[in-house]
């Protein structure tokens, strides 16, 4: 009960994220900042099929490094499908097939030579329904690093603390790291899932409607968190909530029936959309 109220309290201090752990991703070759093609993820003419049914039609877009990109659109428009294409989560769906090109730092992720687990390590994901494993809070965060070979107790401890701090959860759980993660509130669980994704030290974080099951206060915290995350990571978020997209994202894509109708700066999309359909959706005429 106590925990619940604490997590919901709006007076929680502002989140801080100052990574001290060396970050290997910075040494990786990628397109330099400041150029016009500051692209982290590049999608080119992507068609996607679930068996016979086509879910995406010739989607092309560019996700900029250290930015928040949001996908909006009515249910079933393909925004989640596209998101799950970016870390090949759709491979799990039987009969799913992608045609086209998706690049991460210039490398095709659908290249048969690529290691999918390595890709997912670099492109982390946070799901619509918070899904902490039925383990302790510590073990949840340490799950990824342990799999990827971090055995040393001290660096694990450091990583766990760092990731929990990054997800703005450290102060709330530092005294009960060894307790079950299932005892946390919904919002805390979702932030734990974010911490779990951060612990793997990804480049890109995909979020599939991360706030759809949360109350407004927990949602506010996550949004604040997303805003700070973009300093270090590249964030792609799918949302149903247009205000949310407007608040957190730098770029925004509007999807309709598997087509990317419009993609551009969030401000432009929400103030002066080029397409009639985008305008109708944003102004609430349908959807």
């Amino acid at each position: 009960m106590d925990i619940q109220t604490r997590s919901l309290s709006p007076t929680t201090p502002a989140l801080s994220l100052r990574p001290t752990v060396p970050q290997p991703r910075l040494t990786r070759p990628h397109v330099a900042h400041g150029t016009s093609v500051d692209a982290k993820v590049l999608v080119r003419n992507l068609d996607f099929y679930y068996g016979q049914r086509q879910a995406l039609f010739r989607v092309s877009l560019t996700v900029r490094t250290h930015s928040v990109t949001s996908f909006i659109g009515p249910s079933g428009c393909g925004k989640s499908t596209l998101l799950r294409c970016l870390n090949r989560m759709n491979d799990l769906v039987e009969g799913a097939r992608a045609v086209g090109r998706v690049e991460l730092d210039g490398a095709d992720i659908y290249d048969p030579a690529i290691d999918v687990t390595d890709l997912r390590k670099r492109v982390g994901m946070v799901f619509q329904k918070s899904n902490p494993f039925p383990k302790s809070i510590y073990d949840n965060v340490a799950y990824g690093p342990r799999l990827h070979g971090t055995k040393d107790k001290r660096s694990l401890d450091e990583l766990v603390q760092h990731s929990l701090q990054g997800a703005g959860l450290w102060d709330e759980v530092k005294d009960r790291l060894m307790q079950s993660a299932l005892g946390l509130s919904g919002g805390q669980q979702q932030r734990l899932c974010i911490a779990r994704a951060l612990a793997v030290q990804p480049d890109v974080i995909l979020m599939d409607e991360p706030c759809s099951a949360l109350d407004p206060i927990a949602t506010g915290k996550i949004e604040e968190l997303i805003y700070t995350l973009k300093d270090t990571y590249t964030v792609v978020i799918v949302t149903h909530n247009m205000q949310q997209a407007a608040r957190v994202s730098d770029q925004c894509g509007f999807f309709l029936m598997g087509e990317l109708v419009e993609f551009g700066d969030t401000k432009t999309i929400f103030t002066t959309p080029h397409d009639k359909r985008t305008e109708d959706y944003i102004t609430g005429r349908f959807g």
Binding site: M89, L92, R120, F127, P132, P134, L182, Q189
Partner: protein, 549 residues
């Protein structure tokens, strides 16, 4: 009229009758189970209570000493002058060696008087069942006991001393001499193995000599032990007991035949309770006597539990691995569907069929081959080529593997998809996801399968009769000799024990309470095994309680 038909209609539509039907279904089931347990407990638990001994004088001047164990109306005895019919009593008169039969019917009309004298004694013997009468002490060679030195305390001291002596003799026979025999047999087989090729290999001569020396030393040891045994037998002393039975005849009772004496008529309820608990304890902790109709059932309890345990060890890995493959790796096509149907149907195959398969495959084919390869020195005596606890456990594992597969598959499919995706999304491989997330979460389901499998296996008898259960096993499958667990040994089983005691024993009437008691113990064993597994599962379940958002 309209009002009434509306009421009726509502009654039918509301399903009130249906509720009553379902509730009475539950009530009936509960009643049946409670009735069954009650019947077994009443018939079984009563037997250890020290019942009063009655001395009855009949019209024929005959005296009968015994326990009244039953009463009924004589069939066809209802006549106009006795409208309720004539009654008769069933006496357990004991002394089977004297009277030929342990039970006797006595018509109520024939009884002149009955009394419960305190000096009536119940003697439990190693053979021939209980004896009832008056006891005196005598010396070896005398025809009857002397009334003088025969106070009750003397008798009790003598019996106590004889029991101590018997325990020492038994220890010497079984532990020490038994151990020597076991080692001699081992050495003999080892020597035999050396000459299997036809003649001794040149390098083995020294080894052979060493074994021979070992045997000689052991045989010397054996002789000294048997001498010690004889000395112990001599220590038994000169005293014997004489029992005056109801006919007035004096029967000699050698002290080494007497297990216990008691005078139930003189006991107050505290003593009776103590005697009751003692008999109950002896029943579950000692070995059977007298073709299983007397004594305890410890080897059967032990055999049952050990067999279930071994079966669990065999069935869990295979069942779980098969289920993991079917659910997680196999392509969910026609073939997998067929396999699943086959597995489900396997659970419905009569257990005796598994027994026949176990005999043919495990015992003859597998066991025979093992004997030829690993134990040629013992042939033609089979080691694994005959029924044994290993083959029985494996047969039961085969019988219960469908249960484990089905339950594990259900457990696996109940793990939320979110957990899989969460793990894969962190860059875990499918195997890592299985190992660290899915299998732990499915553990309660897997344990449910285990519980069902254990319940089924512990109650199964038919296949065991073909693959390793015997009515009397000379040794437990677990003892202090290397390799401690003797998987080739035959064993006793509670289920088979019930059948054997109830329907194969020479003294069925006396064995009846034993049957109920053994049944009760079997139920207790199954229940406690299940209870342990259920507790384990619930603990895990609490740990993996589904996340509530």
């Amino acid at each position: 009229m309209g009002e009434r038909s509306k009421l009726m209609k509502n009654f039918w539509r509301g399903g009130e009758l249906f509720v009553w039907m379902t509730a009475s279904g539950v009530a009936l089931s509960l009643l049946m189970v409670a009735g069954m347990l009650g019947l077994i407990m009443i018939n079984g638990l009563g037997q250890f209570w020290p019942g009063a001994l009655q001395e009855t004088t009949l019209k024929t001047q005959e005296t009968v000493i015994g326990q009244v164990v039953g009463e009924e109306v004589i069939p066809n005895s209802i006549t106009p002058d006795s409208p309720t019919g004539q009654r008769r009593f069933r006496y357990r008169v004991g002394n089977r060696d004297v009277f030929g039969s342990e039970y006797r019917w006595i018509n109520a009309a024939d009884i002149v008087s009955s009394a419960h004298p305190e000096d009536l004694t119940l003697v439990e013997r190693r053979e021939w069942g209980p004896a009832f009468g008056r006891i005196t002490v005598g010396v070896e060679g005398a025809a009857t006991g002397s009334a003088s030195g025969s106070s009750w305390t003397t008798v009790k001291t003598l019996v106590e001393r004889a029991n101590q002596l018997r325990r020492r003799i038994e220890h010497l026979e079984r532990e020490e001499i038994g151990s020597i025999n076991y080692r001699i047999e081992k050495a003999r087989l080892a020597r035999h193995a050396l000459t299997l090729g036809g003649r001794l290999a040149p390098g083995d001569a020294e080894k052979d000599q060493r074994l021979l020396d070992q045997i000689t030393a052991l045989e010397r040891d054996y002789l000294t032990k048997t001498e010690a045994l004889e000395r112990l037998h001599k220590e038994a002393g000169q005293e014997v007991l004489f029992l005056t039975v109801s006919t007035g005849r004096s029967v000699r009772l050698s002290l080494d035949q007497v297990l216990a004496v008691s005078r139930p008529n003189g006991m107050h309820w505290g003593e009776k309770l103590l005697a009751y608990v003692q008999s109950l304890w002896l029943f579950v902790s000692t070995e059977p006597r007298e073709a299983n109709t007397e004594g305890g059932i410890f080897p059967a309890i032990f055999g049952t539990v050990l067999m279930v345990f071994l079966m669990t060890l065999a069935v869990m890995p295979f069942g779980v691995m098969a289920a993991v493959y079917l659910r997680e790796y196999a392509n969910q096509g026609l073939l997998v569907r067929l396999v699943r149907i086959a597995v489900n149907n396997l659970a419905g195959v009569p257990s005796i069929v598994f027994g026949v398969f176990g005999l043919a495959f495990f015992v003859y084919a597998l066991g025979g081959t093992i004997d030829q390869w690993l134990f040629p020195e013992a042939l033609p005596n089979p080691t694994f080529g005959t029924g044994g606890i290993l083959w029985a456990s494996l047969t039961l594992a085969l019988l219960t593997v469908p249960v484990v597969i089905v339950a594990t598959e259900e457990g696996l499919s109940a793990v939320p998809r979110d957990f899989r995706e969460g793990s894969l999304g962190l860059g875990a491989t499918k195997f890592e996801t299985l190992r660290h997330v899915i299998l732990p979460c499915a553990l309660p389901g897997i344990l449910t399968g285990l519980i069902l499998a254990m319940a089924r296996a512990a109650g199964e008898v038919a296949p065991l009769m073909l693959t390793g259960v015997v009515k009397l096993a000379p040794a437990l499958p677990l003892d202090e000799y290397l390799p401690f667990l003797h998987l080739d040994r035959k064993f006793m089983h509670l289920g088979f024990h019930i059948y054997d005691v109830g329907f194969q024993s020479p003294n069925v009437e006396a064995a009846k309470p034993m049957v109920y008691m053994t049944t009760l113990i079997l139920i207790l064993v199954v229940v406690s095994l299940n209870w342990a597994a259920v507790r384990l599962r619930n603990r895990l379940r609490r740990r993996f309680a589904a996340s509530a958002v």
